[in-house]
């Protein structure tokens, strides 16, 4: 049952093992995590700690080995996928922001954002209208007709955020979204993510190594040796 009373995402004892037998590697050994609607949390940890594996499990692109995962109160994984159409799950309930914007180079800005609602069956006009609203909210409405190659790095990242929000997903996974940006732009992106999380009541999980933005999180999950440890962050205004 998916309601606003439940956290946007709840993970309990999530495990992931690569390989079998003696060569098997346990990348996740029982991860617990809960993120509420409108909340932005940081996920940090050294290389090889399991951040990307966790992100891929949360993004339903690889299958965990065990544990439970709920999105907005609905179990999507409980010792096995509980959803038949993972593609639709990713499309409708999970937004992705990557280290590089990875926009579709042959679509203009509006269509990059409108593509997601269109893939979900929303009509062209309505999808573009929604895209324009999001672009306006992210202050890139003036570049709506531009080609991706004409945008600056910061503008591309804003468009990528707009795309992640296009289907109003309860969960957004951001993989090193500020890595290529300078301090000012990185903090701007974090401020935007905070604003969008509140505005769209989305839970945003930000995987990062970026020391500049770590102090802005109110809650941080440290991941080490396949396990998460929650701690309070500084929660500085970005």
């Amino acid at each position: 049952m998916a309601t606003a009373d439940h956290p946007a995402i709840r993970i309990q004892g999530l495990r992931k093992r690569y390989g079998t037998g003696e060569t098997a590697v346990d990348a996740l050994k029982g991860v617990d995590m809960t993120v509420g609607h409108g909340e932005v949390v940081g996920l940090i940890g050294p290389s090889g700690s399991g951040k990307s594996t966790l992100l891929k499990c949360l993004g339903a692109v690889i299958e965990p080995t065990g544990g439970r995962m709920e999105i907005a109160g609905e179990a999507v994984y409980d010792e096995g996928w509980r959803i038949d159409d993972l593609r639709a799950l990713r499309r409708d309930r999970i937004g992705f922001i990557f280290q590089a914007p990875y926009l579709i180079s042959f679509l203009d800005v509006t269509d990059n954002v409108a593509l997601l609602p269109m893939l979900a069956g929303v009509g062209n006009a309505q999808a573009r209208s929604r895209a324009r609203e999001l672009l306006a909210a992210l202050d890139v409405a003036h570049r709506a007709s531009a080609q991706v190659s004409q945008l600056s790095g910061g503008e591309q990242q804003r468009v990528a955020i707009a795309r992640a929000l296009a289907n109003r997903p309860p969960v957004i996974l951001a993989d090193e979204p500020t890595a290529p940006l300078d301090s000012v732009r990185a903090l701007t992106v974090v401020r935007i993510l905070n604003d969008m999380a509140v505005q769209f009541q989305a839970a945003i999980i930000v995987v990062t190594h970026d020391e500049k933005i770590i102090p802005t999180f109110r809650r941080i999950y440290h991941i080490r040796d396949g396990r998460t440890h929650e701690e309070a962050g500084e929660g500085r205004a970005p």
Partner: protein, 397 residues
């Protein structure tokens, strides 16, 4: 829904256009090859239709006069003319040779014909028909002659008095029509040295130079300097007569070979140009395979260059059908560009070919269907590669 293939083509139109032009040139060559084959068949058909004959009478046991040498005496036509069902006969002599004009040489088929009988030019596009008994010619315009020009054929000069069109041999050589006697001379008479030698040898023969038989030597020598041979007798059958019945009668009673139009068509198309058509068929197969390989390579390269975008598309929920459809549409789009360019260039360079190139709309349609099929097939490799792209590739780590 956005047409992803269309957007990608528009975004990289220069790349697609150049690739399409390259593919189009290849398709143009393929269409031209088909056009060359059609032209050969058309030349053979025109040769048959243009002669105005219903039957071809040739030497027994030969496929003459176009596919094999054939030699008949030129009085055979009189005995054929008297058969039931025969409306008109005409002796013809054919000889493929070089003709000089204005310092250049042309490959032509010399046709000796009798005025007003089967075998004469079907129509003229310039000038007038041959009216004198000797040294006038009507030429196919493809020979490059002009009305009034003088053309050297062996020992004599001929005045071109008229031009005709689409009168070519089965090999595509333009025809030059001259009076039969002239053609016989060109074809069968020996040169002066040979004649002098032949006369001397005859005069030295006591059997031809006997005392008390005046005029024998001169008669023999005169017969050596004349030709009574033709290659074929063309027959026009009477109205209502069945050409096959008339041909059967000639075969039975005259000990000659008679071919109807259908049989002559079979000889020319199925026998004379059979090897050439198989050759062209091989070329078409090879060109089709090369085109398929090129399209497959291009589409595969374009797809591989978009792996990250395909991964993102899969990650954000695009179905395999959406991604496969995008690649298929791009392949088909490339095929359409290639076909349009190919058809255009084939039409552009067809008149420059020395032989007739006939581009039929039916062949173009079949070619289009083949191009689309090849492009669809060629996209399979790229689609398989795209469907193997892991959406996790969009996420780092």
């Amino acid at each position: 829904m956005i047409n992803l293939a269309g957007r990608d083509i528009l975004h990289g139109w220069g790349k697609f256009a150049f690739t399409g032009i390259g593919l189009g040139l290849l398709i143009g060559v393929t269409l031209s090859m088909a056009g060359i084959y059609r032209g050969m068949v058309e030349d053979a058909t025109v040769l048959i239709e243009g002669s105005g004959a219903d039957l071809w009478i040739v030497q027994q046991g030969t496929l003459g006069p176009y596919a094999e040498p054939s030699s008949l005496r030129d009085d055979v036509d009189r005995s054929i003319a008297g058969l039931p069902g025969v409306a008109q006969t005409g002796n013809v002599a054919y000889l493929t040779m070089q003709a000089s004009h204005g310092g250049t040489e042309s490959r032509v088929m010399l046709v000796g014909f009798e005025r007003g009988r089967p075998g004469e030019p079907a129509f003229l596009v310039a000038g007038r028909p041959v009216s004198r008994s000797h040294y006038e010619a009507v030429a196919d315009e493809k020979a490059g002659f002009r009305v009034g020009e003088r053309v050297r054929i062996r020992r004599h000069e001929y005045e071109v008095v008229g031009l005709t069109r689409r009168m070519v041999s089965a090999s595509g050589d333009p025809m030059v029509f001259v009076p039969l006697k002239d053609a016989q001379e060109v074809q069968f008479l020996k040169d002066n040295d040979a004649l002098v030698n032949e006369r001397a040898r005859t005069a030295a023969n006591p059997s031809f130079n006997r005392p008390g038989v005046p005029g024998l030597l001169e008669a023999v020598q005169a017969s050596q300097a004349q030709s009574r041979q033709v290659n074929s007798v063309l027959v026009r059958v009477a109205e209502g007569a069945d050409p096959e019945d008339v041909a059967a009668g000639i075969r039975r009673w005259k000990r000659l070979q008679a071919y109807t139009k259908a049989q002559m068509d079979e000889i020319l198309v199925a026998k004379l140009i059979a090897t050439s058509s198989r050759q062209i068929g091989m070329f078409l197969v090879i060109l089709s395979v090369v085109s398929a390989a090129i399209v497959a390579f291009i589409i595969y390269t374009l797809t591989v260059n978009k792996v990250r975008e395909i991964a993102v598309l899969k990650l954000i929920g695009a179905t395999n059908a959406t991604i496969g459809g995008m690649i298929l549409q791009q392949a088909l789009g490339l095929g359409v560009i290639g076909f349009v360019v190919g058809r255009f260039v084939a039409g552009l360079w067809a008149p420059v070919f020395p032989k007739y190139v006939l581009l039929l709309p039916g062949d173009a349609l079949r070619g289009f269907a083949l191009v689309m099929a090849i492009c669809s097939l060629a996209s399979v490799v790229a689609i398989r590669a795209a469907l193997r792209v892991d959406p996790a590739e969009a996420i780092g780590g």
